[in-house]
Structure formats: C-alpha cells, structure tokens
C-alpha cells in the first residue's frame, strides 16, 4: 500500500454487513465517523471517543474493535459487522435482541448496539458464560441507564434457550 497523504481523501472499500460499500476518508478519520457520516449507518454510536465507553464497538473481520480507536483507512478491505446486521431483512429482531427487549436490557439504547456486537463475538468463544464471566465481559461497556441487571438476565436467558 502506498503512503496515504494526510490532506487527501482516500477511497476505502469494505464489506459492511454483507454488502460492499465504498467511501472516502482522510487518514485521520475514525472508523466510527466513517461508518456514520460516509456510509450512513446509525448504530455505531460515539460516546467517549477514547475507547472507554464501548458504544462504538463493531466487528472487524470478526474481531471486536472500538470504532473510535480504529482508522477508516485501516479497515480497507475488511469485513465489518454492525448491529444493523442482527435483525432479519424483514425487521424481525434476532433472538439476542428479543431477549434484551423481554428483560429490559436497555433503556435509552445508546450503549446497546455496541454491547450486542461484543456479545455476538464473545458468545461464539464462550457460548455459556457464567454470570461472573458475563459481568466481567460487560464491564467493557458503560451503560448509564440499566445497572446491567436486565442485560445479564437477557443474555443468560438467551444462552439457555436459544434456537439460532
């Protein structure tokens, strides 16, 4: 890859939720801003913009990443998944999303897409976490509404009864 000039906008193509998309980014553009402003998705929420709150968490090549700590140009050629990918094309919520709804796992919902994306990757590695493991993992996300109780219930219920 050639050196990318700081003042120019560079083409960035990635596979987003199964579709190839292209946008333009200066090297300094954060992936969170690229997905929101260049591509136009709405689930990559920006909270703290220094990697602490986790609201902008997305999957890049299947790996959990903070969107605000990743540059758009670094994601060139990658596969990116966001919370838009969870529900069916007809708008039916995934089982994990339904569990969040059932157990009041969210209130304002700002932190929720990031948490769902973390869980999407985490539950592949650890399909039946204990409550302690789950709480430890959720500590990487800040939720100011719920106190996490409903969220923990939702995930444990989902892990117990999932059919997906």
């Amino acid at each position: 890859m050639p050196q990318l000039n700081k003042d120019a906008r560079h083409s960035v193509t990635l596979t987003l939720n199964g579709d190839e998309v292209t946008g333009y980014a200066e090297p300094r553009m954060l992936l969170s801003d690229f997905l929101t402003h260049e591509i136009g998705i709405t689930s990559c929420h920006v909270g703290c913009e220094h990697g602490v709150c986790g609201a902008c968490t997305v999957l890049v090549d299947g790996t959990v990443m903070r969107g605000c700590l990743t540059l758009a140009v670094q994601a060139e050629g990658s596969t990116v998944e966001t919370a838009e990918n969870l529900a069916s094309d007809e708008g039916e919520l995934s089982e994990l999303q339904q569990a969040f709804k059932k157990h009041h796992g969210l209130q304002c919902g700002y932190c929720t897409p990031g948490i769902l994306m973390s869980l999407t990757a985490y539950l592949k590695e650890n399909p039946k976490p204990t409550e302690e493991e789950l709480r430890d993992m959720l500590s990487g996300h800040l939720c100011r509404c719920t106190g996490y109780v409903g969220m923990v219930k939702a995930v444990l219920d989902y892990c117990e009864n999932r059919t997906d």
């Binding site: 050196q3 540059l71 973390s118």
Partner: protein, 275 residues
C-alpha cells in the same frame, strides 16, 4: 476529540517500518493495536506527522519459545497471548494478570508490545516484564539492540526507545521449577487503571515483589525469605520508598496501605503455589 492530520503507511515487516521511521524523523509513530496511541491522538496529546501501521505485519505476529523465554512479536495481540496454549504452564504470572488487563473488548486489538511501549506506570504487562526480568528488542534502520525491562522503561509514559527505533519483540522468562507466582491489583472497577498492581515471585529462599501504579514506573524489590513482622517491616519500607502521590483516585497513604496489605497477600499466595 479528533486526531490532527497525519500521513498513513501500512507496512508488512519491521524492515519497512524502520525505513519509514528513519525517513519520518522524530514525529513518526508506530501504531499496532492503537489502544494506547489512538486515545492519545484523539486527545491530541500525540500529534505525529506519519503513522506507520504494523498491525497487519504477519512477520511480527508470533509467540515462540526461545531459551528460557517466550518471545512475543510487536503485532501480537493480547487476546492471542491470553489464548496461547502454553500460557498457564510457561507464563503463570501473566496468566494470573490477564483478567486485570483492560477488557475483553480491548484485549482483542491491543498488543503486548504496544502496552510496553506506552509504558503506563499502572499497566500490568510492563509490571510483569519488570518483575520477571524480561527483555525488549528494539530495531532501527541501523541495527538492533536488546534492553532489560529495567533499562527499557525509564519513567511515566517514557522509555529508552530513541527516534528511529521501534519495539519489535518482548521476551518474558518462562516459569522455573520451585517458583510460585501471584498477581493482584486494586482498581475502582474491573479493567480500570490500577491504583496499585502487585506481582510476586517466591522460591525456597527469595521473595520478589513488583509494584505498579505507585512510582513512575514498575518497581521491583527482592528479599531473602521473610516472615511475620520482618515481612511487615520490609513491605512498609518499600511502600514509603515508592513515593506515592495523591490523585483523584486515591491518596498516597491509601496506596502505601495497599502495598502493605496486598503485598503480604500476594507474597503468601506466591509462596503457596510454588511448584
């Protein structure tokens, strides 16, 4: 909260990276996981002219055993080391420390060598390297050199790395027969910066205790085996010598108390799990 503009170059080897560093001068920076550097960029505490991205350099992404050490390449992520088969048997101290290192969501991308390069005084990976007596390999366009952990980290967020140099690997000594290892830390929440982090090694004759989060870099002290009041006295002296400070998270006095109390606990644990 957005970085200042910089040029960007993705490289595939250490050789390409050090060539770019040589050309970029003192404002060039290496980025791997970005978990330490990206917040610095977003806050504009760092304003590099060029970022040299080694995150996709496969030749720097490895974990391998060398003579009595485990060598970790500069692009190896913390989650990869945490999942490494040999972690529990070869690096029991790191195995004990890993749950305290950031979060699941940061370990997936943050690198081991990146944490060492960032040199935060409360970070767990530099503390473990210091107490185990590990090494760091630095490379520049003009050659390679190896520094001990004690010589590498020079203070708060500062290392002996010179302009044009990059960390290419770190080596953690493997567990030795007869030694026990333990790690603990106190933070306000799991994954937060440690107020005090403690790593201990004990064998039949010696105790070694490393403390992070109090002095401006991880600090290690070694004693002949101590018990009872003699251990209390030694820990108290160590706590005062560290020269802690008051900040919004804790007072210097509280930090000294943690060194005394948790110091004893972590040493006892290291003694009890001697192989």
């Amino acid at each position: 909260m957005k970085p200042k503009a910089f040029d960007y170059l993705k490289v595939s080897s250490a050789e390409e990276a050090v060539a770019a560093l040589a050309q970029g001068g003192e404002d060039a920076r290496i980025i791997a996981g970005g978990l330490s550097l990206m917040p610095m960029l977003n806050f504009r505490l760092a304003e590099p002219s060029i970022l040299i991205d080694i995150s996709k350099a496969d030749s720097l992404n490895y974990i391998r055993e060398t003579a009595g050490m485990v060598e970790i390449g500069a692009a190896t992520r913390q989650a990869d080391l945490m999942r490494w088969d040999g972690l529990e048997s070869k690096l029991p101290l790191l195995n004990a420390a890993f749950p305290y290192i950031g979060h699941y969501q940061t370990r997936t991308k943050g690198t081991v060598c990146g944490s060492l390069s960032h040199a935060d005084p409360s970070s767990e990976l530099p503390l473990c390297l210091a107490v185990l007596g590990g090494e760091v390999d630095l490379q520049s366009a003009s050659g390679k050199r190896t520094l001990s952990a004690a010589d590498f980290q020079t203070g708060m967020l500062s290392t002996a790395k010179q302009t044009g140099e990059m960390v290419v690997a770190a080596r953690y000594p493997t567990a030795k027969a007869g030694e026990g290892y333990a790690f603990t830390e106190m933070a306000q929440r799991r994954g937060d910066f440690a107020i005090v982090a403690l790593a201990a090694i004990a064998d039949a004759n010696k105790i070694k205790l490393g403390i992070g989060g109090v002095a401006d870099k991880p600090t290690v002290r070694e004693w002949d085996i101590l018990e009872g009041e003699a251990l209390d006295d030694a820990l108290n002296e160590f706590a005062w010598d560290l020269g802690g400070y008051d900040d919004i998270h804790a007072t210097a006095r509280y930090r000294r108390e943690l060194v005394r109390r948790l110091g004893r606990r972590v040493i006892e644990e290291a003694k009890s799990c001697r192989s």
